[in-house]
């Protein structure tokens, strides 16, 4: 392990960056396949179940099982999107048209740097989070970079130079700004709660998980139980920010053909979806960290407690891998929830999206903030903390 830290700083940074791409890209691809398969299950049809390379087909039981699961469609789709012709319509603004998918990838891949994805217990009994950039302003970093994702949609819509993409771009810019406000306001109670007065404040996501793994009834409680309204607002705003149904106004195929990506094809088109799915993954990860206890296996059962039960206190690597697996499990469950909602709720109309954002969600999140500020102030005053 030491050889990594002896490398020059920029080599370390480059390796970390490559690791992010190597993890997020396949996850996003797998999400697109999972989306198709989950849709199929919910609609009671087989879904993707055909593609299989010949050398896998001869393996007796595993081969057909993987085939029915649609496991090879990811490879087939990825190959197709890479190798098919890349159309460049004649009427587009070429520079911005090519730039839009690239702009989509930058925030999608860089937000991961601020998200802790696991923890291990060091020899000094300290819980050390696994994270690429452990800065104190973690959540702000995620929000700031994720908010730049809107530019790819605006650029794509504008550069396509035709009506439906244009409408998609206009919708995207208005929708994403509207819901960013509620999203930011909804997480403030969490940070008010964990930052007791007299201490130096922190917006670190790892700190939130640390707070949820304390002993005691209030200490071990996940924030989804303590602040259900905050969790609900955050989740709704997350759906809107990642353009998922029922909020996928920018690309609603029923009225806008394909919205902002109507004019795109082949790999440029798929980059938009890689970006969308990685936003979804990072958003689910932030939701799991803030409200679902991060890498703690169960409410009121912290990672350290689990390590004690399994006699893993002397094995930081095993416990670290376990924490990462628990965390990924939560993220996948919440991604499944995204797909489930897609086939449960019908798409909103655009005026409904705006009304929900400004007239319902925003006042609710302000009210939520005021109520929790009063509760926290009251607890301070009466000395319950």
């Amino acid at each position: 392990m030491d050889f990594f830290f002896e490398l020059p700083l920029w080599v370390q940074a480059a390796l970390k960056g490559l690791a992010v791409i190597a993890v997020i890209f396949p996850i996003a691809g797998a999400c697109s396949m999972a989306e198709r398969k989950v849709s199929a299950w919910i609609q009671d049809r087989p879904g993707p179940s055909r593609a299989i390379p010949p050398w896998f087909a001869i393996i007796p039981i595993i081969g057909p099982f993987l085939q029915r699961l649609g496991a090879f469609h990811l490879l087939a789709d990825g190959g197709k999107l890479l190798f098919k012709e890349d159309p460049l319509p004649g009427h587009v603004n070429k520079f911005y048209f090519v730039m839009a998918p690239l702009v989509a990838m930058i925030p999608a891949l860089s937000t991961v740097a601020f998200v802790p994805f696991g923890a291990y217990v060091s020899e000094a009994k300290q819980v050390v989070p696994l994270i690429l950039a452990n800065v104190d302003v973690g959540l702000l970093g995620v929000f700031a970079l994720a908010s730049l994702g809107v530019y790819s949609l605006i650029l794509a819509g504008w550069a396509s130079n035709s009506k439906y993409p244009f409408l998609g771009g206009v919708r995207a810019s208005a929708q994403l700004i509207s819901y960013e406000l509620s999203m930011t306001l909804s997480v403030l109670p969490v940070f008010l709660w964990i930052n007791a007065p007299g201490q130096s404040g922190s917006l670190s996501l790892a700190r939130v998980v640390e707070y949820q793994s304390q002993p005691g009834f209030l200490g071990g409680m996940w924030f989804v139980f303590l602040m259900p309204v905050s969790a609900f607002i955050f989740l709704v705003a997350l759906f809107a920010e990642t353009n998922r149904q029922p909020f996928d106004m920018p690309e609603s195929e029923a009225d806008l053909v394909g919205g902002f990506h109507t004019e795109y094809g082949s790999f440029k088109w798929s980059l938009f979806f890689v970006a969308e799915y990685s936003h979804m993954t990072v958003g689910s990860a932030v939701f799991a960290l803030l409200f679902l206890g991060g890498w703690n296996p169960l409410p009121w059962v912290s990672l350290q407690t689990l390590g004690g039960w399994l006699h893993l206190t002397g094995h930081p690597v095993v416990l670290g891998i376990l924490s990462v697996l628990i965390f990924i499990g939560k993220v996948l469950a919440s991604i499944f929830f995204f797909m489930w909602v897609r086939w449960t709720l019908p798409r909103f109309r655009y005026d409904q999206v705006m009304r929900i954002g400004w007239k319902q969600l925003l006042p609710l999140s302000i009210l939520n903030l005021i109520v929790y500020t009063c509760i926290i102030g009251g607890m301070e005053y009466f000395g319950h903390r």
Partner: protein, 173 residues
């Protein structure tokens, strides 16, 4: 390394800020503004002021420029032509620009902001600590914050009055 990075991003900030003024295409100008803001954010990061950098990106690059683009696209602005400047306005703007430059120069040279590395506080508590920001905003800089807030309120009221049609109030129109 960090010196050359600073020069690179400072030059890019100025270049894109110039492009905001000189580009004819409104969308391209707004995007140059976006690039300029991002580079300013990078400069803040190089000063270890992470909080400031992320606030700048979140509020200005993430929301304000997106709103600009929304308005530009909604109104579907074309480049259009405008009247050439008159001689009087050119002279006036040159004098105003020179005055502004002199003012900034004097301010930078003679004010308390001309701090050197030795006079700056050694701890980098301004880098991330929210409490330091909060405390100084609510004590030392309370008046400027209130004044700016009031100015924004007035600007908002002005926009509402100018843009909204009031039925039965002909004198406003």
């Amino acid at each position: 390394m960090s010196n050359s990075l600073f020069y690179f991003f400072a030059a890019l900030t100025l270049l894109s800020a110039g492009a905001v003024v000189f580009l004819r295409n409104a969308v391209a100008a707004a995007l140059s503004f976006f690039v300029s803001l991002c580079c300013t954010g990078v400069l803040f990061v190089m000063l270890d002021a992470y909080l400031l950098a992320f606030m700048l990106i979140l509020v200005y690059a993430g929301a304000v420029v997106a709103l600009f683009l929304f308005i530009i696209m909604l109104l579907d602005m074309q480049g259009g032509t405008r009247k050439p400047f008159t001689k009087a306005s050119m002279v006036a703007s040159a004098i105003a620009g020179a005055l502004l430059l002199v003012g900034v120069g004097v301010f930078a040279k003679h004010s308390e902001f001309a701090a050197t590395a030795a006079t700056l506080p050694a701890d980098s508590s301004f880098s991330t600590d929210l409490k330091v920001y909060g405390a100084s905003l609510f004590t030392t800089y309370l008046l400027p914050v209130q004044v700016i807030g009031f100015l924004l309120l007035i600007a908002m009221l002005g926009v509402i009055v100018l843009s909204k049609r009031f039925d039965g109030a002909e004198d406003i129109q």
